[in-house]
């Protein structure tokens, strides 16, 4: 990746991360940890990899994103707003009555959202079906399935993976956000997932790549390799940290859903927002 592109994607990631913090702080609560750990992925997808036209969300040749870990809607909405799918002011309406931005993504409400998710596990099958449909139509399109490590407790995910691998749905690029934590604690303590790499290989994925969850260049390279690998199923594991990008939130004991209800947490958010704003201003100058 050339330096200019890396700089642009880094800037987009900073904007998305700042949006996430601002909108959740404005709302006073929300799924912060899992939103933060997919910020760089969103920047790579929306800043580079996706074939999309934000002015025509229903463009029939578009690539699709299924955020099966629907709880990370705030990160997705921020990326969509930064790309111009809807005005950025809308971000502050998260979870308001009648909002177009519900906590969990809804394809009937939000431009750019192609599948409703939030009941964990279900997006995996939907992504398989979308990718299957793209193949039936003979189209050269990709479906990016983003699934959480905690979400992989759900058996339906593994049913979908069997289908994706058995039918060689190479166009369904499975991205596991392995941020190590779920609502009740560390994934290894809740229901030890052991080795996702080995599991995906055992399920028939023959290109399984593991990259650092905040490494923009590595994520993008992995997606390039997955796109070039046409003869089998593709998985990318984001080796990440829940709450990524802000030390305070990375270390917060319970960072799945955060309440902005005390001075310490509000200051942490404000400091991070100010730091990101400064970075963005400098980069744009």
């Amino acid at each position: 990746m050339d330096k200019v592109e890396l700089k642009e994607l880094t800037l987009l990631a900073a904007k998305i991360r700042k949006d996430v913090l601002e909108l959740l702080k404005h709302r006073g609560y929300g799924h912060l940890g899992g939103s933060m750990s997919i910020v760089e992925l969103m920047a790579v997808l929306y800043g580079k990899q996706l074939r999309i036209d934000p002015s025509n969300p229903q463009w029939e040749d578009r690539d699709m994103v299924v955020l099966s870990k629907g709880h990370s809607g705030p990160a997705w909405y921020s990326a969509l707003a930064e790309k111009g799918y809807f005005p950025k002011e809308k971000l502050m309406t998260l979870n308001d009555g009648g909002t177009m931005l519900p906590s969990h993504p809804d394809r009937t409400k939000t431009p750019g959202v192609d599948m409703t998710t939030g009941s964990l596990g279900q997006g995996t099958s939907a992504a398989a079906g979308i990718a299957y449909g793209q193949k039936l139509k003979g189209q050269d399109r990709y479906t990016y399935l983003i699934v959480g490590d905690g979400e992989l407790n759900e058996g339906q995910c593994w049913e979908a993976f069997m289908l994706i691998a058995a039918r060689k749905l190479n166009n369904c690029i499975v991205i596991i956000d392995d941020n190590k934590r779920q609502l009740d604690g560390y994934t290894k303590d809740i229901l030890n997932p052991f080795d996702f790499e080995a599991k995906m290989k055992a399920f028939g994925f023959d290109l399984v790549q593991k990259v650092k969850g905040t490494d923009i260049e590595a994520i993008s390279d992995a997606i390039d390799k997955a796109k070039a690998h046409k003869d089998g199923a593709n998985a990318i594991i984001l080796d990440g940290i829940k709450g990524a990008g802000v030390k305070y939130f990375e270390e917060l004991k319970s960072n799945h859903s955060v309440k902005f209800n005390n001075d310490e947490i509000n200051k942490a958010a404000d400091d991070a927002i100010a730091e990101l704003a400064e970075f963005i201003e400098k980069e744009e100058a």
Partner: protein, 318 residues
């Protein structure tokens, strides 16, 4: 317009075969229709589709939740998926997938739940559903049909293939007695008065429509005039027809191959109660029980779903 068959003792084509032959024909002219199977092709005749349309026959293996979710994804891409599995797995087992990935997400999935109620036969209690209609009625926007015979089932399949949304139809896999003459057409959401009558109104659906007609004829011979409605669309329910036909009747009986909790009987009771219709009323169906194993014929008797059982209920009410 429908016409009744001349000979109700005759059976039509096995219903699973009707579904698959009809779908295969629909797929000849509509390339958006796809079919998903969860390892029951050999038991459901969907081998017909597998042979005729191998590209649009999608085998997902024994994974019903994934089958529904995959169907939802295909719908996102503009396809009109039909899926099949046994009734309990087509509803109970995948309810949240149908509800969220399907109905809530405004996707289209057509669900054939086979062998409802006593039709389970030798598959027994583990494969029995007496509550599929109750579940599917409760799902917002879902359409629910129970086919009386092969002619009506074919019409339902062709109709659903033209629609958007979640559509559930239940039917035996085996052949059942004919009710309608070939070429009959129907209207979704409209019940059919199959026999006029003055004393009692019998509202029924599914393959036991023919048993209800048998019962009505026997009652007639005994001087009791029974009207029979085939309410093949259980949701949306034809409330107008119920309200017009209940007028002057001494009693109303619903007759269903389903639990009396939440099915056709409950739906009719809701209409009667909300319109303050005070009339002796009985829901005749499975009453808070599990299924069991035996032949379909034995189970129909065991669960008191024969014409004679219905006659007893009618007489007890009058």
């Amino acid at each position: 317009m429908f016409k009744l068959t001349d000979d109700r003792s005759k059976k039509g084509t096995p219903l699973a075969k009707v579904v698959m032959q009809t779908l295969s024909d629909v797929m000849n002219s509509d390339d958006k229709v796809v079919f998903l199977e969860a390892d029951l092709a050999g038991a459901s005749s969907s081998t017909i589709i597998q042979k005729d349309h191998p590209d649009r026959f999608i085998q997902v293996g024994i994974a019903e939740a994934n089958m529904i979710g995959t169907a939802a994804g295909l719908s996102v891409e503009g396809f009109k998926p039909f899926v099949h599995t046994f009734g309990p797995f087509a509803t109970r087992r995948v309810y949240d997938q149908l509800y969220l990935s399907g109905a809530y997400a405004h996707n289209t999935i057509n669900v054939y739940g086979s062998d409802p109620g006593f039709c389970t036969g030798p598959n027994g209690g583990t494969h029995t559903t007496w509550e599929d209609v109750a579940l599917m009625r409760a799902m917002p926007t879902a359409v629910v049909c129970d086919a009386a015979d092969a002619v009506q089932l074919e019409w339902i399949v062709r109709k659903f293939a033209t629609m958007q949304g979640i559509h559930y139809f239940r039917a035996n896999r085996k052949d059942v007695r004919n009710v309608y003459a070939e070429g009959s057409t129907f209207e979704l959401g409209k019940g059919n008065v199959l026999k006029e009558g003055k004393d009692v109104l019998i509202i029924t659906a599914g393959q036991i429509v023919s048993d209800a007609l048998d019962a009505a004829e026997k009652l007639e011979a005994e001087g009791i005039s029974a009207e029979v409605i085939d309410m093949f669309t259980i949701k949306p329910l034809d409330a107008d027809l119920i309200l017009s036909e209940v007028k002057g009747k001494k009693a109303v009986v619903t007759f269903e191959n389903h639990s009396i909790i939440g099915g056709l009987g409950s739906a009719v009771a809701e209409v009667l109660a909300e319109h303050a219709i005070a009339v002796p009323f009985k829901r005749h169906g499975a009453n808070d029980v599990f299924g069991q194993v035996a032949s379909q014929e034995w189970l129909q008797k065991e669960f008191k779903l024969t014409a004679d059982d219905l006659i007893e209920t009618v007489k007890g009410l009058l």
